[in-house]
């Protein structure tokens, strides 16, 4: 009973402002203060969303986007962790490679899109490459930074017990950086998501939510544009809550980083 009450309290505490916003949106459109071609009502957006899903076109766009997101992210994460580990572990690479990655990270990923289009064509491949690249940079930097935050006493303890070389890296350094890697995964995910959306809006040849957004703009269908934004929002929240929040909680518990000891 008290948990039901607890949940109700949480919903009210965290949801009141959102509810207020939607109410204001509905009110503005209902009294006719704005042109419905500039701002459709919440009900119109919802029904458009329903139609878009009903004829399955949006579903396959959503599928294409998610597939690209996961592919690009996995490739970027693998490359980022690999290079981050190398950079953090080998002195010469650390000196030479790290400044280059840090420099690249200061350039918004989307600035590389024209280059990607020239190299790979005006198609899904260019979008995928940009997504992977957007993931790779923060992941490499996070991995590298994590390796420098391994507590010195853990390193000393490992060395004193005779751990060396690859065994040392594999059984001590790598597990020690896992909590920071999870933070890096989360961060690189949001970078990937941004890069992907920007690229899809430009590269309209490729199927995906971004090209539906752009199509909606072209034909002036503002309800479609807003419906797709809603989908993008929900996808972001679902991944954050269902995947990353759980992963983080599990790792923090397992690594003893949680609250009171």
């Amino acid at each position: 009973m008290s948990t039901v009450r607890h949940i109700a309290v949480q919903v009210v505490r965290k949801g009141w402002f959102m509810a207020l916003l939607i109410l204001a949106w509905w009110f503005i459109t209902a009294v006719g203060w704005v042109d419905p071609y500039k701002l459709p009502s919440p009900g119109d957006v919802l029904s458009t969303l329903g139609t878009l899903f009903a004829d399955r076109a949006l579903l396959s766009d959503l599928g294409a986007t998610l597939l690209r997101l996961v592919e690009g992210w996995v490739i970027g994460v693998a490359a980022g962790v690999f290079l981050g580990l190398l950079t953090g572990g080998v002195g010469l690479l650390e000196d030479g490679v790290r400044p280059v990655i840090a420099g690249l990270q200061s350039v918004p990923t989307i600035a590389f899109l024209p280059l990607a289009i020239l190299w790979f064509g005006f198609n899904g491949t260019a979008v995928l490459v940009i997504t992977a690249f957007g993931t790779f940079k923060p992941m490499a930097l996070a991995t590298y930074a994590a390796m420098h935050q391994v507590p010195p006493t853990l390193r000393m303890a490992g060395r004193a017990m005779g751990a060396r070389g690859l065994f040392f890296q594999r059984t001590l350094v790598f597990p020690a950086i896992v909590p920071s890697l999870v933070t890096g995964l989360k961060m690189s995910w949001s970078f990937a998501w941004r890069a992907l959306m920007a690229a899809e809006i430009v590269v309209t040849g490729a199927q995906g939510l971004g090209s539906v957004l752009e199509l909606g703009r072209e034909i002036g269908a503002i309800d479609v544009v807003m419906a797709v934004i809603l989908v993008i929002l929900v996808v972001g929240i679902l991944f954050e809550q269902l995947f990353f929040a759980r992963l983080e909680r599990w790792v923090n518990r397992r690594w003893g980083l949680e609250g009171a000891r």
Binding site: P151, T153, L154, M156, A157, G158, R159, A160, M161, G162, A163, R164, F167, F168, T171, L172, P175, A176, V178, R254, W255, G256, L257, E258, R261
Partner: protein, 264 residues
């Protein structure tokens, strides 16, 4: 019998500050001997232990362990740190097993050694738990098991009990005494607690700071198992305390003299 450790004119200066951490220092530790290094913080005792462990190189002088010059960690030496330094992602059992894995021992052989080590520190019932699920005292016992499992000829301990509350500390001192009587490695035990040093040791070296050096050696000829209220131990502790006080007074006087000279 050859000494377990031979420390000859070992000296360390920290480059950045030019601070002499340790003046040339020499002593030997016999096999099966329990030696304590005691003194205020900054007296170089932990630095010396790190050098014996092979985690830090001396500026000059030499360290021999079991007749071999020390060039790195390992080779019959194991160390216990002040914060247990257990790996948080591993269970206690796997923590204790780690050193054996690092040495490439086979699984079947490892299991028995790990069980014995855990039993020795009375942690065999919590082997599947993770370090964060345990109290500070249990974590420190696990750290001791992790060292013991390597069956070291030389056990190095860097203020292993100083982060614990007084009761736990007393319990663990008794436990360490018992374990040492069972297994008899040579021990170098670093502490800033004078009674702890006297209680545990055959020999105690009293250090003073700035620069770090040995000011006196005490041979503690008291039968084991011992009791902290033993008058002989209390007397040694009192003597160490008096000596440290006069060292501090001397240092203060030198400091004032130096200031006076520079003021003229």
């Amino acid at each position: 019998m050859a000494p377990a450790l031979r420390i000859a004119a070992v000296c360390k200066t920290y480059e950045r500050s030019d601070h002499v951490a340790l003046e040339p220092t020499s002593f030997e530790v016999a096999a099966e001997e329990f030696v304590s290094l005691v003194g205020p913080s900054g007296c170089g005792k932990s630095t010396l232990l790190a050098m014996i462990a092979g985690l830090l190189a001396p500026d000059s002088g030499s360290i021999e362990a079991l007749g071999q010059p020390v060039t790195g960690p390992g080779d019959g030496r194991a160390i216990v740190f002040q914060d247990a330094a257990l790996f948080p992602w591993l269970t206690l059992r796997h923590n204790v097993e780690y050193g054996l894995r690092a040495q490439g021992m086979r699984r079947a052989e490892r299991r028995e050694r790990v069980e014995n080590a855990l039993r020795m520190v009375h942690l065999d019932h919590v082997g599947e738990k993770h370090p964060y699920e345990l109290s500070g005292g249990m974590r420190q016992r696990a750290a001791i098991a992790r060292a013991l499992v390597l069956e070291p000829k030389i056990l190095l301990m860097d203020e292993p009990f100083s982060a614990l509350d007084a009761q736990t500390r007393t319990l663990l001192q008794d436990e360490l005494q018992r374990i040492w009587l069972d297994t008899r490695p040579a021990v170098v035990f670093v502490t800033h607690n004078l009674m702890e040093a006297a209680f545990l040791s055959d020999t105690t070296y009293l250090f003073s700071s700035s620069p770090g050096r040995i000011v006196r050696r005490y041979d503690v000829a008291v039968e084991r198992p011992r009791d902290e209220s033993d008058p002989a131990l209390v007397e040694i502790r009192q003597d160490m305390l008096d000596r440290l006080r006069s060292e501090v007074d001397d240092a203060a006087r030198r400091h004032i003299d130096a200031a006076g000279v520079s003021a003229l």
